[in-house]
């Protein structure tokens, strides 16, 4: 019980470097997740990390938690260079991470969770833990019922237990990854107050959030990441001097502003044709883990690209699934070329020309163990000409697959290769080819370029333009604002399952800011 025994562990002096990144770069296949980022987190501060999806926040958390190691550059703890090669190494260095999705064992009691990971041959020091928990209860108002079954507690309470666990370990750095996303507003405020208390005691708190007002209210220092790079910082002096409105505007500019003009390659908006897809007051059922869609209304015209922007997990997936027929709708209607689709099945919708390219290429879009050829016809099993009287025509399927491979420039050793052996970009090409086979009228893209390399991104975007130019209607759901500004005629912003507003895309540098304001919940900007 090395950790629990040191109850009076000295914290570093306030303002001292607690943990830092020095010129850190981390690459994943096809993406630079973190690009030469340096930042210092000081003891006694709540340091907010802000950024869009894919800005590199989770990768930084991963490196600090010992899950990944930087490719270039290094980390520092207490001012000295360190390597964090494992989660236990990170804990040893005094860094505790509270992940967005709890890391407690639901079937154990709170006490058992707290002492989990201690030296196994010792009897858990119940009295010591009780004493220290009582201190924590007094100092930070943490509610830790030691004998309760963890799984029966609310998410907010479980989070308190994770914080208590970090404090029991005498961590000097506490990372809260999207910690407020699961909490009620009151719960978030309580957590904010607790963060302030912890920082007051000299801990360094790293707080990751999407919500700008929380960043302003709870944070001392705000660092903004954009596409893996460090985009700027609001230091404590400056932050305290600003009103909330000013500070939020400042953050929006750092997060979304490019300063540059419209991308040169922006797709020219044409006069749109008749309405192809009309969605009216669409609702779906929600649950503990799925967000409900509420009163979604939108229209996509022939030859038009309607973009749907939003931070990940705001109902984009549910929208795509509801349109494709994979998710039952509870209210509202979806009209394709003026006909109500009603309860039409996935296959029926596909036949009528509504196509859906999923964002989950590997676990939904394809069957990895099946050859490329079978994957190209996966949505038409049993249909002629590939099957006659229920029997497969391998020759026809292979010919069709070879056609698709050459049309879409899929790089594969052959049509008989299992699709799981292909790179993400090539799988995406196969899926795109599959969706465009036959009479495609409306194509729903969900994050079509996510995780692809630059070359494949360019190729995919070119395809989407062509699809619109051919007179089809495109619904492009994306978390990449540049992609939306490059391709979309109009951009709807989805927040918590609702359309927060729809903007005409004029391609100006202001677009990012305007979308950004809608995304982070500034209602006035919608006008």
């Amino acid at each position: 019980m090395r950790d629990l025994a040191r109850s009076d562990h000295p914290l570093p002096a306030k303002g001292a470097d607690a943990v830092g990144l020095v010129n850190v770069t981390k690459r994943f296949p096809g993406v630079v997740a973190v690009d030469d980022v340096s930042l210092t987190v000081r003891a006694g501060e709540v340091h907010v990390l802000l950024g869009e999806n894919g800005a590199g926040k989770s990768t930084i958390v991963g490196m600090l938690a010992g899950l990944q190691e930087p490719d270039n550059g290094h980390l520092t703890v207490g001012g000295g260079r360190v390597r964090l090669t494992s989660p236990s190494g990170s804990l040893e260095a005094g860094i505790s991470t509270v992940f967005q999705h709890g890391m407690l064992v639901p079937t154990l009691t709170v006490f058992e969770n707290l002492v989990l990971g201690d030296t196994w041959w010792h009897r858990p020091p119940r009295a010591l833990v009780e004493r220290r928990i009582a201190e924590l209860q007094r100092d930070f108002g943490l509610d830790v019922p030691l004998d309760a079954l963890t799984g029966e507690l609310s998410l907010g309470q479980q989070q308190q237990i994770e914080i208590a666990r970090a404090l029991l370990r005498d961590s000097t750095v506490l990372i809260l990854d999207e910690a407020t996303s699961m909490l009620t507003p009151a719960g978030a405020d309580e957590l904010g107050a607790r963060m302030r208390l912890l920082a007051g005691r000299g801990l360094a708190v790293i707080f990751i959030t999407h919500k700008l007002s929380e960043a302003y209210r709870f944070g001392d220092r705000i660092s903004v990441l954009k596409q893996g790079q460090f985009a700027g910082e609001i230091p404590p002096e400056e932050l305290r001097g600003q009103t909330e409105v000013d500070a939020v505007e400042h953050m929006v500019r750092l997060m979304f502003g490019t300063g540059s003009a419209a991308p040169a390659s922006r797709r020219a908006t044409r006069a749109p044709g008749p309405v192809r897809l009309a969605v009216d007051a669409l609702r779906t059922e929600g649950g503990a883990e799925v967000l409900a869609l509420r009163d979604i209304s939108l229209e996509v015209r022939e030859g038009e690209v309607l973009g749907v922007a939003g931070i990940d997990g705001n109902g984009q997936k549910q929208l795509a699934e509801a349109l494709a027929g994979q998710r039952p709708i509870t209210q509202g209607s979806v009209l394709l070329d003026g006909t109500d689709l009603g309860r039409a099945s996935v296959a029926e919708r596909r036949r009528r020309g509504l196509r859906y390219l999923t964002d989950d290429r590997l676990s939904e879009g394809s069957v990895g163990a099946f050859p490329v050829s079978e994957n190209t016809v996966l949505k038409e099993i049993g249909a002629p000409p590939f099957w006659t009287a229920g029997f497969e025509r391998p020759g026809r399927i292979a010919a069709h697959a070879r056609d698709l491979i050459s049309t879409y420039a899929v790089r594969t050793p052959g049509e008989a290769t299992p699709i799981g052996h292909l790179s993400g970009g090539n799988i995406q090409k196969v899926l795109l080819g599959r969706e465009l086979t036959g009479d495609a009228r409306v194509v729903v893209f969900n994050k079509p370029t996510y995780g692809l390399d630059m070359q494949n991104i360019t190729a995919s975007r070119k395809r989407m333009r062509e699809i619109a130019e051919d007179g089809r209607a495109v619904l492009l759901i994306s978390t990449d604002l540049d992609e939306l500004i490059e391709l979309a005629d109009r951009i709807a912003v989805i927040v918590e399952g609702r359309i927060r507003g729809t903007l005409d895309n004029d391609g100006s540098g202001e677009m990012r800011l305007r979308i950004g304001r809608l995304m982070v919940g500034d209602l006035e900007a919608a006008s």
């Binding site: 994979q326 939904e364 394809s366 049993g382």
Partner: protein
């Protein structure tokens, strides 16, 4: 060409030689190792393994009567294999085939001896098969519903149902379908003349032919038809299946019905072809034996047939070797257990080799 793609094409080129290597490493290797280890165990008991294996070979394969018995014994095993291939290829682990088999057998034994009194032979046999298949399928409805609509793991539910099924079969034999004409607790007996016809001038039951047809038909269905591809898609990736517009729950129900139905037919072919009745406490537990064979054959129809042939020969051979050499008949279980251990080991090594290479 990127590095990754070069590797991919390289892997493709190796696949040709890799297939033979794989056959050697993960199929023949474990068989040889199991024979050797079992031989060592025999040596420990002071029995010459060569004598034992020699007897098994002689009695199970090389003597005319032995071979006929071997081929006859294959019939129920083949039907079970057909049911298992459907399930395993569709990603459903139906481990409850023994319960389904036994209930199917009891159903056939309850119906056929009474029906033959007024109905023609062919109709009786047909009805016996149909009823047995239906009863087998019925016994899988509960696990199927739980799996399809609640996501309850079918490995556990089918195993539980098999215990219940075996007990229920016993209860049915002892209390309801008891033959009042004998003192032994057993069902009425279908006269030998009314059973499935024998092949030509031999003692081989024509159930063998039915079993071969069942396995081959299932193999073709799973590999060549739209329905088979649907089932395989559900098995390989249910999310992708739902995305492609397939009704995962309905197809899951269909897999259970087919798989358990074949297990029921396996019961019927044994009763209507060979046994003629079901004795109380009879449970050959064929299913648990066929499962490893189907695995060893990688769910391949022809592969399964070959392995079942050898296993069947082993069973028949071991029966007489037990009398001659004094090795208990259950020694086949030792052999099969060894086979499973080496099979698992080979699979693990093959997996590790792939990981280090790729």
């Amino acid at each position: 060409m990127s590095v990754a793609e070069t590797l991919e094409t390289g892997a493709e080129a190796r696949a040709g030689t890799g297939r033979w290597r794989k056959l050697l490493v993960v199929t023949l290797g474990p068989i040889a190792a199991a024979l050797m280890t079992s031989g060592l165990i025999l040596l420990l008991f002071g029995i010459n393994p060569l004598t034992y294996y020699g007897f098994v070979l002689q009695r199970g394969l090389l003597s005319g009567l032995g071979l006929e018995q071997t081929l006859t014994r294959m019939a129920p095993l083949l039907f079970l294999a057909a049911g298992l291939i459907v399930a395993f290829r569709a990603g459903i682990w139906n481990l409850g085939v023994d319960g389904q088999f036994l209930l199917g057998a009891v159903a056939a034994a309850a119906l056929a001896p009474l029906m033959i009194l007024w109905a023609p032979g062919w109709l009786t046999l047909l009805a016996g098969f149909a009823l047995a298949g239906a009863v087998g399928a019925l016994w899988s409805v509960l696990p199927a519903l739980l799996r399809a609509y609640q996501g309850v793991n079918e490995i556990i539910t089918t195993l539980m149902m098999t215990f219940l099924g075996v007990s229920l079969a016993n209860v049915l034999v002892k209390l309801i379908f008891l033959d009042p004409g004998t003192t032994v607790p057993q069902t009425r007996t279908l006269p030998v003349a009314d059973r499935l016809p024998r092949l030509f001038d031999t003692s081989i039951s024509s159930g063998l032919i039915l079993g071969l047809i069942a396995v081959l038909a299932v193999h073709v269905m799973m590999t060549r038809t739209a329905f088979g591809l649907k089932l395989r898609t559900v098995g390989a990736n249910p999310h992708a299946a739902a995305h492609a517009g397939l009704s995962v729950p309905r197809l899951t129900m269909a897999v259970f019905a087919l798989s358990a139905g074949f297990a029921g037919l396996a019961g019927a072919v044994d009763i209507l072809g060979v046994q003629g009745n079901v004795r109380a406490d009879w449970n050959p537990a064929f299913g648990l034996m066929v499962i490893p064979l189907v695995f060893l054959a990688r769910f391949h129809g022809v592969g399964s047939i070959i392995l079942i042939f050898f296993y069947s020969a082993l069973l028949i051979g071991a029966e007489s070797a037990a009398r001659r050499v004094g090795v208990p008949q259950d020694f086949t279980l030792v052999l099969v257990a060894n086979l499973l251990i080496f099979l698992g080991l080979a699979e693990y090594l093959d997996h590790r080799r792939k990981r280090t290479e790729g």
